[in-house]
Amino acid sequence: MTLTDLANPTRFLTLTGRLLPWLAASTALLLLIGLYQSAVAPDDYQQGATVKIMFIHVPNAWLSMFVWGVMSLAALGTLVWRHPLADVAAKTAAPIGASFTFLALVTGSLWGRPMWGTYWEWDARLTSVLILFLMYLGLIALWRAVEDPSRAARAAAILTLVGAINLPIIKFSVDWWNTLHQPASVMRIGGPSLDRAFLIPLLLMALAFSLLFLTLHLAAMRNEILRRRVRALQMMQASQRSA
């Protein structure tokens, strides 16, 4: 089974159809184990139990960027190699990535609340995530604004790649801006190096969320392929009627 075999939508559907139940089960299992490990991890001496939000926040933040990376690869697939499933991969990844980003924002806000006293502070990292969230939403809006799926795919692909180039620049700029304006520093989210006791639950949760992304993404791709088939059938029906 080569990569090119996967390019065939029908084979992709049958393969993922068989794979998906196992993926879903493994994801659920890993999430449960991760959550359990997070719960039994020791409290932080300074932050108490609230530090455990980190086990959800950090993996989500990582994934928000990772998904943009996946979309960038898919964008290259669309523009350079014209891979048939690249469009589908890119389109379905966007809402999932946006959701992870949103979760990162919410958990980040909740985590910061006890320390900051407010639900939002223009902390450098969270602000970068907020901008990333805006970019996801803009991308999703672009997907929906263009009728023809293949034209939408190409436009979105270009925007994704431009976004990928700009993300490090934006991150750098926001960090710089923050150090310029930040008064006497408050405890920063993500703090100093992590204690080993925290590392294991964190990695488990990161793995669990990655599997979650894979599961959701493959399921969404299946739906999108079926949706496109329906559209193709409807178009064929329309052109038959007028003949």
Binding site: L79, I131, L134, R154, A155, I158, I169, V174
Partner: protein
């Protein structure tokens, strides 16, 4: 006259003759800056402190709102087809159009800055600092925004979506433009550091913008 010079000349001619020309962008800039004190209060000290930021925001919005016709006008009347078929590389043609747009719409904003600086009670140093950062920054805003303008051709009705797509990309320009202005006014940071970064971002946009725009236009023609 060479092909690119002809294109720049044509675009500037059209910009100056149609719909109030360059002045409409300046008028919008003026309007936005005038709105700020109504929102913020007429406290002069506060306005002076916010001055560079308000001017930058006004210039950003004024640049953005004139961009969506950059390529759609040519697409609608069939000129874009001919531009793609010409012997001039599309990336250069896009860069030429962006340059023409800046000359007609962006440069007037820079020229209007001293007048608006008066309204916000900025002194000569402050105003020149802001004007200088805008001189370097407005071309970057145009060249960054042209990516959205090219995508707007595919959309057929760019408008707000264009703004939503382009604004996050413009954030670094805003950060360093305002920071450089503030540095010139009150220190402690030197003007040079953020200003050089602003210049670097501009130069990068002169390359990324035309390439991304040309790619979008080619794919959007079908």
């Amino acid at each position: 006259m060479t092909a690119l010079a002809a294109l720049i000349r044509r675009d500037i001619q059209i910009a100056l003759r149609v719909g109030g020309g360059a002045l409409i962008g300046v008028l919008f800039f003026l309007t936005v800056v005038v709105l700020m004190p109504f929102a913020v209060g007429p406290d002069l000290a506060l306005l002076t402190r916010l001055g560079p930021a308000l001017l930058w925001l006004g210039a950003l919005l004024a640049s953005l709102l004139t961009l969506d016709r950059l390529f759609t006008a040519d697409h609608e009347d069939g000129s874009l087809d001919l531009i793609v078929m010409s012997r001039t590389p599309l990336e250069l043609a896009c860069a030429a159009k962006a340059l023409a747009h800046w000359l007609a719409a962006g440069l007037p904003l820079v020229i209007a800055t001293p007048v608006l600086g008066l309204l916000l009670n900025l002194d000569a140093t402050a105003t020149s600092a802001v004007a200088l950062t805008l001189l370097v920054g407005t071309p970057a805003l145009t060249f960054t925004g042209m990516i959205g303008a090219a995508l707007a051709v595919t959309l057929h009705r760019g408008g707000l979506l264009l703004a939503v797509l382009v604004l996050p990309l413009s954030i670094p320009l805003l950060i360093f433009g305002v920071a450089a202005s503030q540095a010139a006014i009150s220190g402690p940071l030197s003007f040079g550091a953020p200003f050089s970064i602003l210049c670097a971002l501009s130069l990068a946009s002169f390359v990324i913008g035309p390439f991304a725009a040309a790619a979008s236009l080619r794919h959007g023609l079908d």
